[in-house]
Symmetry: C2
Subunit: 340 residues, 2 copies
DNA sequence: ATGAAAGCGCTAACAC
DNA sequence: GTGTTAGCGCTTTCAT
């Protein structure tokens, strides 16, 4: 059995509440230095480790936060979670749960977190409409969305500046002479999917290009397979296009697969731009032009925002957009001029 | 304030211990069906959620397990953790901590987990010699190593069958005519680094090739930069070689970088084999030949083993080796015959 | 400066 | 079948 505060008290010859005072930095000055030293020595001798659960029961806090992600196995999510942990540890530990972007699974996982009485939540799996999360926010639980936003006001979020990223991507393609630019968006019920699709239309318009819905496809998920499927659809529709702006890098990789299968070469026939700049896309062939999103920093900032809410230093409802940067590589090139 | 068991008791007109019995599946049959129904209804009406912390305090369990990884932001670690969570949830939640392969940080993080009274530990960051972990095992805490092993007996582990993977890789290279095969190993204080390096010597010998230490370099970490550095060292040593067996895929990617910089082409001049088959190495140029390791399954099996120990269904000390398979791609090719 | 008493929410052992 | 009692390890009054 591990030592408790009472064991330490016996060892040091004091009352157990004195031990509590001596070992808690916030109340340590109430205890005479000499006594405190004796207590610390006794604690060390017994290998005493405070029990966070018992403390939490008394203080009505678990000193844990929940982190809700679509899938931890995904390359970017590990970075977000790592960013969160870097900030909250060791004061809080993170309980990470996966939703697979499935609302029912999300409901179950949030229930698990409720049972654990988390003191706050970082949610990276939000859909635009999330009654569950909103209910938690209304109940007073500190919540910060990371990497995604929700429609309702009053929910804090930290995301990349998607609109700026899309504008830079489109700008780049237009400068290379592209006019027939297709878009394979992510799911439209995610903020990343919807925001990038909307920004895409806006960016085209600003360059005097009429948005053409026949050049837009929607991936049902941010997955390679969906990118491949959507690209194939575009080709089979018979529409002409010289570039694809993909909703994220996985979709872009799906485009690569579809192109390879059909003997379409990149960027000679079709230029591709991705989004996220996830690890190793610079090592693909061709190296992928992509909008870099600072995922680790998104996690860090979301955690800071959450701590501020927990400590009452900030209200809910702020929105933080982190800057992005276009990484130009070899998957984008000038439009090949067909001989007239 | 959220509802407690006493609120439910008042609402249902029973004693709070009866509520406890009715709501706990293990004791529910002690309660009359009708009463139980009334209690469940009251609980639902009040939105009662049991408090896992309070339950744990009483039962002397936290219903959490610790997962110790080198770095969650790394592509393969997310998969391992995901595998663990898929098995233990929702009974246990996972507390994930990062060590950055730094022993001091590991010590701190283990202390955090001790404070949280985790019921078991999955450790994916083990070094060969890990007194800390051994002490925990000796203290009776269920521990399973995932992806890495330790030297001492008595610690359970789930890893890939590294020796078999190395043998397959060397076999493949020898079949292509390679004799001067270099190896850039991972850190030798990790089991993965050491086991693969040892298996490499063995495999060469079995093919009648005398191991040559001048063709072996050690990366200080499983990182791209270290792979690049070690490859450069090999080239500058002036030793001739036609293939490199890399300690893992990150090191292999480092080789790619070094080769590109020097205008050495793969596989024409030098063939490269990686280890792990992490996501998207099949999309690199050239697509990387690599030994596939089932990381998600390693996490799952480690979790199963841990639960078995926790439940007293198994002793500590088992070793599970999961099968690997060589994925042959385009980074390996026949030795170019120099004109005689 | 330290001790005593009470209680956080829950469950297990024991009555009745 | 249900109520009573006690206590998990800790912190926070309050008293001395």
């Amino acid at each position: 059995m591990r030592a408790t505060i009472r064991d330490v008290a016996r060892e040091a010859g004091v009352h157990h509440t004195t031990v509590s005072r001596a070992l808690n930095p916030a109340t340590a000055q109430l205890v005479k230095g000499e006594t405190a030293a004796r207590i610390r020595a006794a604690a060390a001798r017994l290998g005493y480790v405070p029990d966070a659960l018992a403390r939490g029961l008394k203080n009505n806090t678990s000193m844990t936060i929940g982190v809700v992600v679509p899938d931890l196995a995904t390359p970017i999510m590990g970075q977000v979670v790592r960013g969160v942990e870097d900030v909250v540890m060791p004061r809080y530990v993170a309980l990470v749960v996966n939703t697979d972007d499935d609302p029912e699974r999300e409901r179950l996982q949030l229930e698990v977190l409720a049972t654990r009485k988390v003191d706050g939540l970082v949610v990276a799996s939000a859909r635009l409409h999330t009654p569950q999360i909103e209910a938690l926010v209304d109940s007073g639980l500190p919540v910060v969305l990371a990497n995604r936003r929700a429609r309702g006001a009053g929910i804090s979020s930290v995301t990349s500046d998607d609109a700026a990223g899309v504008a830079a991507a489109v700008e780049h393609l237009v400068a290379l002479g592209h006019r027939r630019i297709a878009h394979i968006s992510g799911p439209l019920d995610t903020s990343t999917g919807a925001a990038r699709a909307a920004a895409f239309r806006t960016a085209l318009t600003e360059h005097g290009i009429e948005p053409d819905d026949r050049l837009v496809r929607t991936a049902k998920a941010f997955r390679v397979g969906e990118g491949e499927r959507a690209f194939a659809e575009l080709v089979e529709s018979g529409e002409q296009f010289t570039a694809v702006f993909a909703g994220n890098d996985l979709i872009a990789v799906g485009c690569y697969d579809a192109m390879r299968r059909r003997g379409i070469s990149c960027p000679e026939h079709v230029s591709i731009v991705g989004f996220n700049d996830m690890p190793f896309v610079d090592k693909l062939w061709p190296p992928l032009t992509s909008v870099r999103v600072p995922h680790h920093e998104i996690g860090r900032q979301a955690a800071h925002m959450l701590l501020a809410q927990i400590d009452g230093r900030a209200e809910a409802g702020s929105t933080l957009l982190l800057p992005v940067s276009l990484q130009v590589r070899e998957s984008t090139g000038p439009v090949e001029r067909v001989a007239p």
